[in-house]
């Protein structure tokens, strides 16, 4: 009988680490299929490709942990980046100031979302969906959909390297660790987890559920704006389609990594990070082996499905 218990525990342990196992599997498969996959250059380019989604994912993790969903992040990213870029390019504001303003503006949008959800007590999906509509509308009106090119001050961050990585990649990785610290080691972070874990209990104990939710929305907005900033550096311009559909991809990525949609459970590092990384790797690997563009999405869907299938097994044991 003890043997059965042991086997069961082993299975559970394996399934609890399914993401990592799956990640290694993906690396192995793609490495076999393409000699260029398992190289330092490619690792760098995967990291670089994941920066925007990582930033949005960090913010989204806070929203999910507190038990809400922010569907405006993609539009918010485009909005904050566009507005600040306009100020920078057309109105000649200080580029550094404008860069810093991007996350701030994003945070403001998040704050509005949060106020509508917590104070006016509206459904978060609808609020953030409406916000998405409105923000895209505003951006199109403001920019006339012309791409805005960044000045040299912004671009220099791309060429400035730390440990062989562009500075903005290092920056987001450091920010990621800081946010994980906030979540794990500060009173604020723990109370966010508490609110998401059991909002009823939180309000019974006198934690201000509203305020922590508001904070989570604001953080989610800030990181959407930060994503805009990173893409400005990475890309050197703000173009149309920026952030389009990123809300869903980001949710998929971090849920893949193990952040719970029900709230309370999750971490920025490693969970959200791993999720984003795996999704980026799938895309990178498929591109590298030259997957037919017509089957690209089908393959992606199947890979995610297999992964969620394995993941679901752990709840059944």
């Amino acid at each position: 009988m003890n043997r059965e218990v042991k086997i069961k525990n082993m299975k559970l342990a394996a399934l609890n680490n399914a993401v990592y196992i799956f990640g290694i599997l993906i690396i192995a498969v793609f490495s076999v299929m393409s000699p260029y996959f398992f190289t330092v250059t490619n690792a760098t380019s995967i990291l670089r490709a994941s920066t925007l989604m990582l930033s949005i994912g960090i913010g989204m993790t806070f929203a999910l942990i507190v038990g809400e969903l922010d569907l405006s992040v993609g539009a918010n990213c485009r909005f904050s980046a566009s507005v600040c870029a306009l100020l920078m390019v057309n109105y000649k504001w200080n580029p550094y100031l404008c860069m810093i303003m991007m996350p701030i503006l994003g945070g403001l949008v998040g704050l509005v979302n949060g106020i509508l959800v917590t104070r006016v007590k509206l459904n978060a999906w609808l609020v953030t969906l409406s916000m998405k509509l409105a923000l895209v509308g505003i951006v199109v009106k403001l920019t006339n959909t012309v791409a805005i090119n960044m000045p040299q001050e912004v671009l220099q961050f791309r060429n400035f390297k730390i440990f062989g990585l562009s500075s903005f990649i290092v920056f987001i990785l450091v920010v990621m660790l800081i946010m994980q610290f906030v979540l794990k080691y500060t009173t604020f972070g723990r109370k966010i987890v508490a609110v998401g874990s059991n909002p009823n209990a939180a309000s019974k104990l006198g934690l201000s559920v509203k305020n922590y939710k508001l904070a989570a929305f604001t953080i989610s907005g800030i990181f959407a704006g930060l994503g805009g900033m990173l893409i400005c550096i990475n890309l050197g311009s703000v173009t149309r389609e920026l952030g389009d559909g990123y809300e869903f991809t980001a949710v998929a990525a971090i849920v893949l990594g193990g952040v719970s949609l029900a709230g309370g459970e999750g971490s920025v590092f490693p969970k959200a990070f791993i999720g984003v990384l795996i999704l980026t790797m799938i895309e990178n690997g498929l591109t590298m082996i030259g997957a037919d563009i017509y089957v690209f999405q089908i393959a992606k869907a199947l890979i995610i499905f297999v992964m969620m299938y394995i993941d679901s097994k752990k709840n059944k044991i």
């Binding site: 459904n123 609808l126 969906l129 509308g137 559909g245 849920v255 017509y294 089908i298 969620m308 679901s312």
Partner: protein
């Protein structure tokens, strides 16, 4: 502050008065709004215009009805528009190859049902979160439609259009299809044990299970229904625009389907919502766009206004809920 005064005020606070007042205000506001339109833009009420709004709402309303089922059961189906697109494309493809309408319709419904079942199994049997499960289906269907159509558009047979995309008397076939679907679905949801079970699952799945309700089976059925609705919407749409292509479902469509359901009173958390609400939601969305176009407002401004109006409507809904709750 005098504590006693503070509390005596509250003593009188409870009653249903607020609810009644609220209903009255919203009805008056609504009527005023409609009258204002009648004065400013009488064209809005032209029969052709109203019928055109109805036609445009029909596909969204049909899909939103499916979405309502999923949402009442506590899930979400992001894949409805993509399934609609895929089944439409495969249907048109079949029709082109076989020259047979029945086979085409069959293909559409088969694909829609298959994908609905797939969603259902992923959620109910495998236990994948509905958000992610349907997203997988969404990506998959988008990819497969691309593969099938090779990004061209495929015309459907003229007879198909005649059957499902023409006027019967003053009513467009789409409108008739929408009304039939909605009546049946509304009936199923509110008047039968099956419908009651769906509400039960959305309110508390574990309790429903302990009550002996077959939650797994019902969830599969719910996703099946949303799949079928996607298929029916595909028939309505492909017949109306007489072809199938990747442009059947735009980003806007998926938002509209979810927004119609929520504006109509459903909640992501499950347990509330009616098919009728979805219909009204679809009308509001399309009627609003139509009205704003009549005023000559451009597309992107309409998007901004739309966002604001959605928020306003749910806000009204919240006030009502609060009024009920004292």
């Amino acid at each position: 502050m005098n504590i006693k005064e503070y509390f005596t005020k509250k003593e009188k606070a409870f009653s249903n008065r607020k609810d009644k007042n609220f209903l009255l205000t919203s009805v008056i506001l609504g009527v005023l709004f409609l009258v204002a339109i009648a004065i400013a833009k009488p064209q809005f009420y032209a029969f052709r215009n109203l019928s055109s709004i109805l036609i445009q709402s029909s596909a969204v309303a049909i899909m939103a009805a499916g979405q309502i089922y999923v949402m009442v059961s506590g899930g979400i189906d992001l894949s409805i528009p993509s399934v609609m697109m895929l089944s439409g494309c495969i249907g048109a493809y079949t029709m082109r190859e076989t020259e047979n309408i029945m086979l085409g319709v069959l293909a559409i419904m088969m694909i829609a049902i298959l994908l609905g079942l797939f969603n259902g199994f992923s959620v109910a049997k495998i236990g994948i979160n509905p958000f992610v499960a349907t997203m997988i289906t969404m990506i998959f269907s988008n990819g497969l439609s691309l593969r099938v159509t090779k990004s061209t558009s495929i015309p459907v047979l003229p007879k198909f259009t005649e059957l499902f995309g023409k006027y019967y008397g003053p009513f467009h076939a789409n409108i008739i299809m929408m009304l039939v679907c909605l009546i049946i679905l509304q009936f199923l949801l509110t008047k039968t044990a099956f419908g009651r079970s769906i509400y039960a699952i959305g309110t508390n799945e574990k309790t429903a299970q302990a009550c002996g309700i077959k939650t797994g089976k019902i969830k599969i059925q719910v996703f099946l229904i949303s799949g079928i609705m996607a298929g029916l919407a595909a028939i309505a749409l492909t017949a109306r625009i007489s072809s199938s292509s990747l442009s059947l479902a735009s980003d806007g469509t998926s938002l509209d389907v979810i927004a119609a359901a929520i504006v109509g009173g459903a909640s992501i958390k499950g347990g509330v919502g009616t098919v009728l609400g979805a219909l009204i939601g679809a009308f509001i969305i399309n009627g609003l766009s139509n009205l704003l176009v009549l005023f000559g407002i451009d597309y992107y401004t309409i998007q901004i206004i739309k966002g604001a109006v959605f928020i306003f409507i749910t806000w009204f809904d919240t006030i009502r809920a609060n009024a009920r709750r004292v």
